[in-house]
């Protein structure tokens, strides 16, 4: 009986390891088909349009590859899927790129500097009038998200710290209902499109928003560094398609108006609402502008703030002993943090090619 059991266990283990191989992360190699994921957000809507209207296919064909661009409804899930190796690239906020894939050991490159939040994230109080009025109160937000970072920066600006308030982790959609429909929450940190509904509540006062910390909350398209190194065609195709799309959006032609209208309905709002969201999203409309932002020294300072916040909230992982644990590399070759563990890289080379018309 015991021998039989042992044999059974051995079989189970063999079967298990075969099964587990299929769960192995996507290994980098030369390949021709790629998967990229994004989720609904004002600054990322062009990804949906450029796929639906053949722009992605045109650029992928040009470099002899296939790029499948998928939209997931759950933002965090899309990043987790990317970090687990199911996608070669994903759209995310730069802070999440640091705390999710990079802190999880997945070497990630910021390929497209899409936009920064310029009012799209904000803090709204029902009774209070200033940031300092939150002292001693509960604040509802999605903890550890960009909202949390914004709150920390806001408190800092008023000479407070997180110890002065109580944060309540609240899912973004339920926060809207609870804030607008009842008095059960008083202070909320959120982002668009929820933020615009929250602001409409009678008597609500917006006390802080991301336009006060311009350039700090970046929304980017990231790809797996190894995949990109082995397949520069992926980088060229994505960057090429992106800037063709942005040029179309800003062309002022009837096609541009049509594209914006289509993106508005895809994002679940009307044209006016979408335009309002775009107005608080600073898009880098030309590759030259994106290159300038990515190569400016201010980026390193911003990322230092972001990584300090992330380390203080234990987001860099259990093993992280200091904020230097995860290295961040910039286009000029400088590294913030551990140079032997660079996991997040800002790349300007592909965007530069687009700016120089070499794609």
């Amino acid at each position: 009986m015991h021998i039989r059991l042992k044999r059974l266990l051995a079989y189970a283990l063999v079967a298990g390891s075969i099964f587990s191989l299929s769960a192995a992360p996507a290994a980098a190699e030369q390949k021709t088909s790629f998967k990229v994921v994004w989720s609904i957000y004002a600054g990322w809507m062009p990804w949906g349009y450029l796929v639906d209207h053949g722009i992605m296919k045109k650029w992928a064909d040009k470099y002899g590859i296939e790029v499948e661009v998928t939209q997931l409804n759950d933002y965090v899930e899309s990043i987790n899927q990317y970090a687990a190796g199911k996608f070669d690239g994903a759209a995310m906020a730069s802070m999440d790129a640091l705390t999710i894939p990079a802190a999880g050991g997945v070497d990630t490159t910021v390929l497209v500097m899409g936009d920064y939040s310029n009012g799209n994230d904000g803090i709204v109080l029902k009774k209070g009038k200033t940031v300092a009025d939150m002292k001693g109160q509960k604040v509802n937000l999605v903890e550890f998200s960009v909202s949390h970072y914004l709150l920390a920066r806001a408190l800092e600006s008023a000479g407070l710290t997180e110890k002065d308030i109580t944060t309540v982790n609240t899912s973004e959609n339920d926060a809207v209902a609870a804030f607008t429909g009842s008095d059960s929450i008083q202070n909320v940190v959120s982002w668009n499109p929820m933020l615009s509904d929250i602001k409409k509540t009678p008597g609500a006062t917006p006390v802080f928003d991301s336009s006060k910390i311009p350039g700090e909350i970046m929304d980017v398209m990231t790809v797996n560094t190894e995949t990109l190194k082995d397949n520069p065609a992926l980088g060229k195709a994505l960057v090429g398609a992106w800037y063709e799309m942005l040029a179309l959006m800003n062309s002022g032609t009837p096609e541009a108006a049509k594209a914006i209208e289509s993106m508005a309905s895809a994002s679940g709002t009307d044209l006016a609402g979408f335009k309002a969201q775009l107005a608080t999203t600073y898009m880098f409309n030309t590759p030259a502008e994106a290159v300038q932002f990515t190569t400016a020294p201010a980026l390193s300072k911003t990322m230092d703030l972001v990584r300090t916040f992330s380390f203080d909230h234990r987001l860099l992982g259990e093993g992280a002993k200091s904020k230097d644990a995860v290295g961040i590399a910039f286009p000029d070759g400088t590294v913030l943090g551990d140079p032997n563990n660079v996991k997040l890289r800002f790349d300007a080379s592909f965007t530069k090619m687009a700016a120089d018309g070499k794609l």
């Binding site: 687990a84 550890f144 309540v168 982790n169 899912s171 609870a178 259990e318 996991k343």
Partner: protein
Amino acid sequence: MRRIINVKPDPRSLALLGLAPFVGLLGLYVASSAVRLAANPGDKLLPPLSAMASTLSRLALEADARTGQMVFWADTAASLQRLGLAIAASVIIAITVGTILGLVPWAKALGNPLIAAISLIPPLALLPILFIVFGLDELSKVVLIAIGVAPFMIRDLALRIEQMPYELLIKAQTMGASTWQIIVRIVLPQMLPRVIDALRFSIGPAWLFLIAAEAIAATNGLGYRIFLVRRYLAMDVILPYVVWITLLAFAMDFALRLLSARLFPWARISTS
């Protein structure tokens, strides 16, 4: 006759056999984790057992710098408190309403369709309403769990009461028992063990609703922690928490079984 239905395992290896699937799953996990860790030593999806142990020891043995509490125990206490309140409320509601529905024909005609309908509503779909009516604090979480489990317990109890031999009630009445005496001396002693059985079946759903409520708005709790750290894929926290929840649920089930055997020894005579 040699048929698979007649081949019985050696009694001495019974315990081992029961353990085998667990060992198998553990082996599967370790193997899968090793494969992923070989590709990326920082992989978060399937962390090694050692990483889970060190995370758990930090959460359970060290005070959190910000709150000064031991996170693991604070979460457990918060969750158990919500669960306990909700279960206590559900039991009281179930006994009261179930007895009335089961015994009083008028109440049955009036209330049965309503309770049947309520028990079929998925409570999670009503969350926004619950949040607005009961606020985002403790009350809405307790109410969600109670709405999730009480209707089932009420229906179960009412059904059991209807199945009681009617002769018992007739006999009691011929001996002059009032309705109150019938409830206290005949119905409740027979039904309390059934309530505990129904409760045992409800523990699983109760945990489900608890975790769902904590995921949406909370400052502590087991479900809160799981959904909080899910944001950065900290499976080294999530997996130990899942095991802990399973253990707690198992312990509750076990305790209820013991309690039932202790308090109502007569209930076992007929069934065993």
